[in-house]
Symmetry: C2
Subunit: 333 residues, 2 copies
Amino acid sequence: MRDRIRAVQFGCGPIGCAVAKLAIQRPNIKLVGAVDIDKSKIGRDLGEVMGMDKKLGIPITDDVDGLLAKTKVDIVFHQTTSSLEMVAPQLTQLLGYGVNIVSTTEELAYPFTTQPKLAAKIDKVAKANKATVLGTGINPGFLMDSWVLFMTAVCQEVKQVKAVRIQDARPRRLPFQKKIGAGCTPEEFQKLVEAGTLRHVGLTESITMIAAGLGWKLDDITESIEPVIAQKRVESQYIVVEPGQASGVRQVGRGLRGSEEVITLEFEASLGTPESYDAIYITGNPNMEVVVKEGTHGDIATAAIVVNAARRVVEAPPGLITMKDLPIVICAP
Amino acid sequence: MRDRIRAVQFGCGPIGCAVAKLAIQRPNIKLVGAVDIDKSKIGRDLGEVMGMDKKLGIPITDDVDGLLAKTKVDIVFHQTTSSLEMVAPQLTQLLGYGVNIVSTTEELAYPFTTQPKLAAKIDKVAKANKATVLGTGINPGFLMDSWVLFMTAVCQEVKQVKAVRIQDARPRRLPFQKKIGAGCTPEEFQKLVEAGTLRHVGLTESITMIAAGLGWKLDDITESIEPVIAQKRVESQYIVVEPGQASGVRQVGRGLRGSEEVITLEFEASLGTPESYDAIYITGNPNMEVVVKEGTHGDIATAAIVVNAARRVVEAPPGLITMKDLPIVICAP
């Protein structure tokens, strides 16, 4: 039997806690440390912060150097923020200790086109320290990019691809419902968009991953964002949306060759959408329509793919890798 | 730009010709030779045998040693027969020249459990000659195994998996329609089953690949086969099926842990089935239902996945590999 993977949880917010909760259930993983910069969490036991009724014997620390200097670590589960620029110092610090990383930083899912210098730097530091770093998640990382590429395996030719994710946000966490603008007036929605706080990050990363995979050179990439306006009253456990208010967000990413739209990604999350689903539409030989009925639960799936990717990342060659080139990630405890 | 992949077509029947036809359309592949053992094809130009109205300048030969001794070859597309025991001498001969192989031999898709000695021998010869060999196809190789494993990436836990492939065989080739027993009486169908000529090969290989991927130890694997009996008259371009005759075949493969059926693969191909589709059902956290609407065309998809896999196989480490551990195959000309 292979050795257990020794893991550190970096970032103990809702997603980080979901990752850690799954990791401690897996016989092939041993959680050996936890990191957060939130003063209210430092020094507390991870189990307590996760809302468990028992301690894990893992104190949360903000002293990354102290932790990694004295602990053997194979991989870090990194769940902090979407911005690659913000997390780059965290990643290079970790890589300096030769530890592998699975991060849910959306901009890391495919940064070679959008942030080539930063991507090259991280790749270089990773290789110099014989470590591997992967950006993944349900989206970007799976539904709108690597799954699309995976399905093209059975196509002789691909002319256009479209991926659609429509989700009813009513079963999701309150912070998620707030993040998509549910209950805002159209004006409030617009202000949140302008402030940069209301936006699903990752469409451009998914578009550039698909293009790189299919060998397409794009001439332009666009992203649009608008509120889904409630036609009738809709409510969740937390929020009531009146007619005329935003029930959520709709974003469309487009990749163009010349004037032709060859990649279309439609993301919609709102309270009370009639049907949740994820779908891929390929125009080519053959045409394909593939659907996940009722869609994929974002929080469950994100924690799953991070933990499931651990073995592949530990075994991968050093450097900054993406889901495009990793062997398929499998739920294998 | 990377060098073009120099390929040889081994086996020039319907599937081999479909592979070659796609390969010559791909800018990243150069077809440099063709092999068949059929005396009626030897010496003829591959283009002619493929039914093209032009010659390709590629004469079909049965002299594998002569061809490989004088021609630089990166990969062989190998489309001959389902039986690993029958093709093993072909594979080891090819591997002796250090060429990589993508084969549609169904029993090669995951032979480690079913034929471990033969698998070990091929792996050893491949590694000794720094060559890589992959068994793939639409099924086994994709729909009922690697696609299932791929979708589990977003699951925290998998308890049971089921894959279903239901296809209307009316649009398929006559040999395929005959192979599934369309137009046979139930007695004739049974005789063909007993003779071993009427059987889709690969369910057991897919089951063992899934089990290996998910880390499951199976206690038993079963396969059943029975005719689909026409309730009313149904006809294709080639065959008329009267009520009471077989319109096709239904096979079910089962993987058991103790008495619990944890893997179920249902394969049905018949003339006039009401709805063609491919589907995956995962019982776990979360449950998932994923459907390819109208299903996947077997011949188109098989040629596609063979040719699409070429780059990955050339770049893979030496040995006998499977779709379970290969980076995702992409339609990338």
